[in-house]
Amino acid sequence: MTHARRFILSAASGLALIAALPATAQDFITVASTTSTENSGLFGHILPMFQEETGIEVRVVSQGTGQALETGRRGDADVVFVHARAQEEQFVADGYGVQRFDVMYNDFVIVGPGDDPAEVRMAADATAAMTAIAVAEAAFASRGDDSGTHVAEANLWAAAGVAPAGRWYLSTGSGMGATLNTAAQVPAYALTDRGTWLSFENRGDLEIVFEGDPVLFNPYGIILVNPERHAHVKAEQGQAFIDWVTSDEGQAAIADFTVGGEQLFFPSAA
């Protein structure tokens, strides 16, 4: 039975591997945030500065805004950092978050095929641009995932009085990058945050066809998950991150971040 013994020994040492997993850093917080902040590289730029200063490691789980808020509601994050104001205010009103702070904004742009079959470039405002796409039944790739960008898109369709449906309307149910990959292939129009667009490389024939309307303003808010609801929330460290992000220093770090020489996020903390 020595073979068997050897086998049992190796199995046991396998189990020991688990126990030997390196101890995780004690001082860290989990932040549920959006794909736009992570994919653009903003966190890679600002988090090392915060960690240097406070010794607190920030672990970012990037999800759509809807999923990020759900992660907060379940108590699986200490801080949520997202962009869908109405949902954020609901999150606080329901007692899941302590308070919402303005952090920064960027803006949405409408991208589409360079030859612009729906003549979106001629549109006077964002509502007219959406109407033009719907009237032409030109392909439009939607996030369809309850993210902040998807919510913003739904608001634009509502303002245009359009209930988007039909073969031209492609609900990808995916993140911004995956949706842009789809849009580039079809090719289709899509609503995207400028940050993801600027750092996105697989553009194919897509170009910005509409930008600059104030309704495309995209504000980001940061909220501490309520420790009264989830006692394990690292309120002190989480608040330290919120304080830093909204401080002069944090705001300057956000303003400093550029992709291809272009500033992506504009500080807006009071």
């Binding site: 073979h3 086998f7 966190f43 970012v60 789980v61 699986d76 990058g177 995956a178 996105f200 989830h230």
Partner: protein, 231 residues
């Protein structure tokens, strides 16, 4: 395709610490999951092969079917279990490598159990008389049968490894793809694809395939060597 291959090669050559960390984590998570699944699955599969009890057929069918458990479903189940609002929330395991190991173990376990059962069943049919005449009961025969079937069992273990190292659905949900902490080869590929960095994504894919190929070559070589020694 020269681009991605060149990127893959220069990535490896550069010894980029972030990449090495990702490769190390992927291997650690998947290999640990394979070992866990073997520790549980080999004895369980062998027991299932030899034991006779009511409902045995149903149990076998269920384990066979679970070989097709979608990774994203396994991930979701583990997520709901480990979430702070779930039954094991107080362990604070969500978004850690341990959570990823648990999810991948769930994915591999049915493969190891089902394959072990089938291999041991065949061996038992073959050696039954001999083992019984030596005075070995069914239970005592288990280690011998497992050892005898080790070359065939290795294929099952490799299939399990392949399934776990290739999946992204489960590790993405329970690990959260946190940079420097729970980012694996497959979640990094997903992220780079989402960023439109397709060249980098393909390069990472090439590295992952190379790793899998290397491990399989080692296992195959070991199997051949064992066969040769057995004559």
């Amino acid at each position: 395709m020269g681009g991605p291959f060149a990127t893959a090669f220069s990535l490896i050559a550069s010894g980029d610490p972030a990449l090495m960390q990702i490769i190390g984590l992927s291997l650690r998570v998947t290999l640990t999951a394979v070992l866990m699944a073997c520790a549980v699955g080999l004895p369980l599969g062998a027991a299932l092969a030899l034991a006779r009890f009511p409902g045995r057929g149903a149990v076998i069918v269920v384990f066979n079917a679970l070989m097709g458990l979608p990774p994203v479903v396994a991930g979701l189940i583990v997520y709901l279990m480990l979430s702070r609002s779930g039954p094991f929330g107080s362990l604070a395991l969500l978004f850690t490598p341990t959570a990823m190991i648990i999810a991948q173990t769930l994915l591999i376990l049915p493969i190891v159990i089902s394959l072990t059962r089938s291999v041991v069943e065949d061996l038992w049919a073959e050696y039954r008389e001999q083992l019984l005449s030596l005075g070995a009961g069914r239970l005592r025969a288990v280690p011998t049968l497992l050892w005898d079937g080790r070359v065939s069992l290795l294929t099952g273990v490799l299939a399990g490894f392949g399934r776990a190292s290739a999946e992204v659905g489960a590790v993405l949900i329970v690990g959260g793809n946190i940079a420097g902490h729970t980012r694996t080869m497959t979640t990094a590929i997903t992220l780079e694809t989402a960023r439109g960095q397709l060249g980098l994504a393909v390069a990472l894919g090439i590295i992952l395939l190379t790793l899998t190929l290397t491990l399989n070559a080692i296992a195959w070589g070991a199997g051949q060597w064992a066969r040769g020694r057995l004559g």
